[in-house]
């Protein structure tokens, strides 16, 4: 039997996970990986640590060239795919060469959104190259547009490098996808304590300066800066897929079924380029995170080879260190849930929404409960047992059922792991 030919486009964690899973599953597979970047896999997630000077550049790399050789992955780095021909089962590269495939895995990832001109001193952070550029820039005064997790992490990194930093965020709070107002305000306080200025409910309108950025105008004020960073979100990179006739979803990512297969049979997609079903609601969502990409790549690889692995769904996780404070979250916030009113999974209106919120042992947490299910949690300086709570959320456990069990010693005796979840719900 001849080896199956699989072509993977992209060398992020999704692409690498797919490739290494394929190799783990079978020797009888011809794996070719085409990637725009020239380096082995690195972790985009630790780039802020690199910018801050906490880790050296080499530390950002997760794999070496030897790893690819060891896994017998043919790598075509520094190469772009310009077209996919699904019928002919062929991709065309920018050097005009063509690669045939039996299976294709798209792992084209996402790109950072940006408005306006890319003057000198204007950056986004997505790739190692971006990070190198920011480090070389050596500015003094930075304005950060966007206070999501990435924006916060870069701000802290620049602060570590001696920058004066001002954050401008369109929403009324920072970390709008991970925390509700109260938690966000606490974290904002931590930033302001260190001298990082934060403006909420404000949007950037115009970039000032000639060749070099000199400032930015918001709808409320003018801010001087020699460094401007856009951290306003990532967008799935789907042009190639679109051009090939692959269905794109409402949220802008490639539509896949639970086997990570696209609308065209034999073509799979995984990672940031994909619109996956959220594990809590079952609805398509853009949960663009490392761990989701990692898992999706593995699932795609399994199914590529004829397996039938189901992807359980993607998860939204927040995990940021803010000057020694551990800020974490899972699932939905009260705010984000309010934008999902009609989801069948939530069974009706959000009148059923309740909140459990406590300051406890030097930490803070907030659970968002809809009907009888916990749909999200936010944690500041609480690390212990968060994973257990998260797993009960993912299981979709009934809260009233849990509360009933908490009071029943016989049942609790046989379910010791519930003892660790109990303190989040009960106060006696």
């Amino acid at each position: 039997m001849s080896a199956m030919k699989v072509v993977i486009i992209g060398n992020g964690i999704a692409g690498f996970s797919a490739a290494s899973t394929l190799r783990r599953l079978t020797e009888q597979c011809d794996i070719t990986m085409v990637a725009r970047e020239t380096t082995p896999l690195y972790s985009a997630c630790v780039l802020p640590d690199y910018i801050a000077g906490k880790i050296p550049r080499e530390h950002a790399f997760v794999k070496t060239e030897k790893d690819y050789k060891h896994l017998r992955i043919n790598t075509l780095f520094g190469c772009e795919v310009t077209a996919i021909d699904p019928d002919a089962r062929r991709v065309t590269l920018d050097n005009k060469k063509q690669l045939s495939f039996e299976r294709l895995i798209l792992a084209t990832g996402s790109g950072a959104m940006v408005f306006g001109e890319r003057k000198k001193g204007v950056f986004t952070l997505k790739t190692l190259q971006d990070a190198d550029a920011i480090i070389q820039h050596k500015g003094k005064k930075a304005v950060m547009i966007g206070a999501g997790a990435i924006g916060i992490e870069i701000s802290i990194a620049l602060h570590a490098q001696g920058y004066g930093v001002t954050i401008v965020e369109m929403m009324d709070q920072i970390l709008p996808l991970g925390l509700d107002q109260r938690g966000a305000d606490k974290v904002r306080g931590m930033l302001e304590e260190k001298g990082i200025k934060v403006f909420n409910g404000e949007r950037a309108i115009q970039v000032l300066g000639g060749e070099q950025v000199e400032g930015v105008v918001t709808d409320k004020r003018e801010l001087e800066c020699d460094t401007l960073i856009w951290a306003i979100g990532m967008r799935p990179q789907v042009e190639l897929a679109k051009q090939a006739g692959i269905s794109i979803g409402e949220k802008g990512g490639i539509r896949v079924n639970s086997h990570m297969e696209t609308s065209i049979s034999g073509i799979y997609a995984c990672g940031d380029c994909v619109e996956s079903n959220d594990i809590l609601t079952g609805e398509p969502y853009l949960n663009l995170f490392w761990h989701n990409a990692n898992r999706q790549g593995a699932v795609a690889a399994h199914n590529c080879l004829g397996g039938t692995k189901d992807y359980p769904g993607s998860q939204n996780i927040l995990n940021v260190d803010v000057f020694g404070n551990h800020v974490a979250g899972f699932g939905f916030t009260e705010e984000t849930l309010c934008r999902f009113r009609d989801i069948p999974a939530l069974r009706g209106s959000l009148a059923d929404l309740s909140i459990i919120e406590r300051e406890q042992n030097g930490g803070y947490y907030r659970l968002v409960v809809v009907g009888d299910r916990c749909m999200g949690g936010q944690f500041i300086n609480i690390t212990r047992d968060v994973g257990l709570l998260w797993s009960t959320m993912v299981q979709g456990r009934s809260i009233t059922g849990l509360l009933r069990m908490f009071d029943n010693e016989e049942l609790m005796c046989r379910r010791p792991w519930l003892h660790r979840v109990r303190p989040f719900f009960k106060t006696n």
């Binding site: 042992n361 303190p423 106060t427 006696n428």
Partner: protein, 654 residues
């Protein structure tokens, strides 16, 4: 110089001034007095005014954690508390396991000294460098279980909690604190002292480490000891029954004294009412162990059927269950036993001490020394109702219960009418072992000479509670623990005999030693798995101070003499080392005939014999035979020159 095992700091908390002070631990002092009980003695000698009133703000609580505590050494579980107890007026220790000691060590402290008096109810929180005096107004008035639950709720279950119940708030003397609801601490009235200081509880959680100088050497030694446990043929039985495996010893081979030391609980009834099968089926709900100890001597008990279904308690070994409630109080069933114990534990009443006083009170009532006027119209009997009635009164510090629960010394004064004649106590504390039933071995003898008062089993040696066992075991044990050949000759002068008094001195030293280093346990079923060199190896491995067994034995002798000296300064001497009168009366049993005070081999002992034994004890100790007080030469020999000088200045020694 950094030493392993020692955390390196002494923490002093002044509740009056609301001051927290941390000082480095003097390592030379630590080497001399080892830590734990030994360090408590040293600090009590230096800092505590002998004349202090136990309830005064100037009385201090010394909590000592030995160097082995909180390490991977086998059975490194016990820490020690010392103060001037209000029930007896002696300066003496309490020992406990549980998680509090290790968490204080892990927070970085070898010793905690508490003095002064808070203006309003407080509790102390120890969390690494962060030591805070916290408001306890919502805890005051709550029992031990509730207090502990509330503190766990507030700080997290990973905090160890010492809680005082309602009895201590009312300055009741025969009380104990509970650690994490299950380990008792401070027999003699720690809660009363805490109550007088407005100190309701202590919580601790430590995240620092205890360094070990030679980890591999320690692990090797720990493995050796653990292997002995694992290889023990009776191990499964121990695992299944816990300390209840000793039930036959109490009920049958020896016996539980009853009716205020005038009777012996009939064996057949003991088996009928309190057999182990029933216990395992209907009462035992679980088992708690002290740190790194394989014995798990604290049982979680819960009534599964009948009137008191659902009543639960955590109690140290079965002493509380059977001996005290069953024999002294004669409550009549396991269920009532648990119910009574739960009440004692929640309020903080000391099961060991207070049940003895109840037993005594019933006899006084039977003799007419106490009448219905004293009891509030209630007839006192040996039963559950009387027990609960007097316990309720004790908790409220009211009525007859309130008088009894101040301890023998004060109760004898308050009741008068010749009641002392029937009080079986030494220095104000009740003995546990009846040498007429058990025969006089070292634990029984120690009850007479212990500076604290009769407390069991500070004189435990490996064969305690082993009537008719081959005394060769004693000899082997002493030899293994480093007792000199000359001393052995004095203890075993001829076959078929050993001098229990002389032997006792070495057993006492050993218990003092284990409570100072924080490793080992006086319970025979734990101690029997140890060899003397285990300690010298483990101590050397942990601390990095290469120390021989002989040096450790010397240190233990030093510690015990200091302990004695502390109480000499209070005026105690031979006149207080008294065999209770009742021990010289014959004990008429219903099923074992007549029992009299006799030695290990069954030879009856007269008062003169006992006085001779006391002579031998003081002689072996190197103390003045007339006064029972350490002589200068002895104190100098073990590097207690300053103690000798002080006692000389005060006129206690020449």
């Amino acid at each position: 110089m950094k030493a392993g095992g020692y955390a390196g700091q002494i923490l002093t908390i002044d509740l009056t001034k609301e001051e927290i002070k941390k000082e480095p631990l003097d390592l030379d002092m630590a080497k001399k007095f080892l830590g734990g009980f030994g360090l408590n003695c040293r600090l009590a000698w230096d800092l505590l005014d002998p004349k202090v009133d136990p309830y005064s703000p100037d009385n201090m609580i010394f909590m000592g954690m030995g160097p082995m505590l909180g390490t991977a050494a086998a059975v490194s579980s016990k820490h020690s508390v010392m103060s001037k107890w209000p029930s007896t007026g002696t300066i003496s220790p309490g020992t406990a396991g549980g998680d509090f000691g290790i968490n204080v060590k892990l927070s970085g402290y070898d010793e905690v000294v508490i003095k002064g008096k808070a203006k309003k109810p407080v509790y102390i929180k120890i969390n690494d460098d962060d030591v805070v005096i916290c408001d306890a107004s919502d805890l005051w008035g709550k029992d031990t279980y509730k207090t502990t639950d509330m503190l766990w709720e507030k700080h997290g279950r990973h905090y160890a909690v010492i809680a005082m119940g309602t009895a201590g708030e009312r300055l009741v003397n025969t009380t104990i604190c509970l650690i994490d609801k299950c380990t008792s601490w401070g027999k003699g009235g720690l809660p009363a002292i805490m109550g007088s200081k407005n100190l309701k509880a202590l919580v601790a959680c430590g995240s620092k480490g205890i360094s070990v100088a030679d980890p591999n050497r320690l692990i090797e030694r720990t493995r050796m000891i653990q292997q002995r446990f694992i290889g023990y043929p009776g191990r499964q039985k121990l695992l299944d029954l816990g300390t209840m495996d000793g039930f036959a010893s109490w009920a049958d081979i020896h016996g539980m004294s009853m009716n205020n030391w005038t009777n012996r609980f009939p064996t057949e009834e003991a088996y009928r009412l309190y057999n182990t099968d029933y216990y395992l089926e209907n009462i035992k709900a679980g088992r708690v162990s002290d740190p790194t100890c394989p014995m798990g001597c604290k049982d979680h008990v819960k009534v599964k059927k009948g009137e008191y279904t659902g009543t639960e308690a955590w109690v140290s070994s079965f002493y509380g269950r059977v001996v005290h409630m069953a024999a002294r109080c004669q409550v009549g069933s396991y269920e009532k036993n648990v119910k009574a114990q739960e009440f004692f534990q929640r309020t903080g009443l000391c099961i060991q001490s207070y049940t003895a006083l109840i037993d005594w009170a019933v006899e006084l009532y039977e003799r007419g020394i106490l009448t219905k006027k004293d009891t509030g119209g209630v007839e006192l009997k040996h039963d559950f109702e009387t027990t609960m009635y007097l316990a309720e009164q004790a908790n409220k510090h009211e009525g007859l219960g309130g008088i009894l629960s101040q301890g023998y010394k004060k109760a004898m004064q308050d009741i008068g009418g010749g009641c002392e004649k029937y009080a079986v106590q030494v220095k104000g504390m009740e003995p546990l072992y009846d040498p007429r039933i058990n025969r006089l071995s070292s634990a029984e003898f120690n009850q007479v000479v212990n500076p604290r008062g009769a407390h069991a089993p500070q004189g435990a040696s490996t064969l305690y509670m082993s009537k008719d066992a081959d005394p060769k075991g004693y000899r082997d044990w002493l030899e293994d623990r480093g007792v000199s050949p000359e001393a052995l000759k004095r203890i075993f002068p001829r076959p078929g005999y050993f001098n229990v008094a002389r032997l006792c001195s070495y057993a006492e030293d050993w218990v003092a030693f284990t409570n100072s280093v924080g490793m080992g346990c006086l319970r025979g079923r734990v101690d029997n798995f140890f060899k003397g060199e285990d300690w010298s190896e483990a101590y050397s491995a942990v601390t990095g101070f290469e120390t021989s067994l002989g040096e450790l034995r010397r240190a233990s002798r030093r510690i015990y003499n200091l302990y004695k000296a502390l109480n000499v300064r209070l005026g105690y001497s031979r006149k207080d080392d008294v065999f209770p009168e009742r021990w010289f009366e014959s004990l008429e049993t219903t099923d074992r005939g007549t029992m009299v005070l006799c030695d290990y081999f069954g030879t009856p002992l007269s008062k003169e014999d006992c006085e001779k034994l006391l002579d031998d004890y003081y002689d072996e100790r190197g103390w003045d035979i007339q006064t029972g007080i350490p002589i200068k030469k002895t104190l100098m020999e073990i590097d207690l020159e300053d103690v000798a000088r002080d006692l000389q200045k005060r006129g206690y020694i020449k």
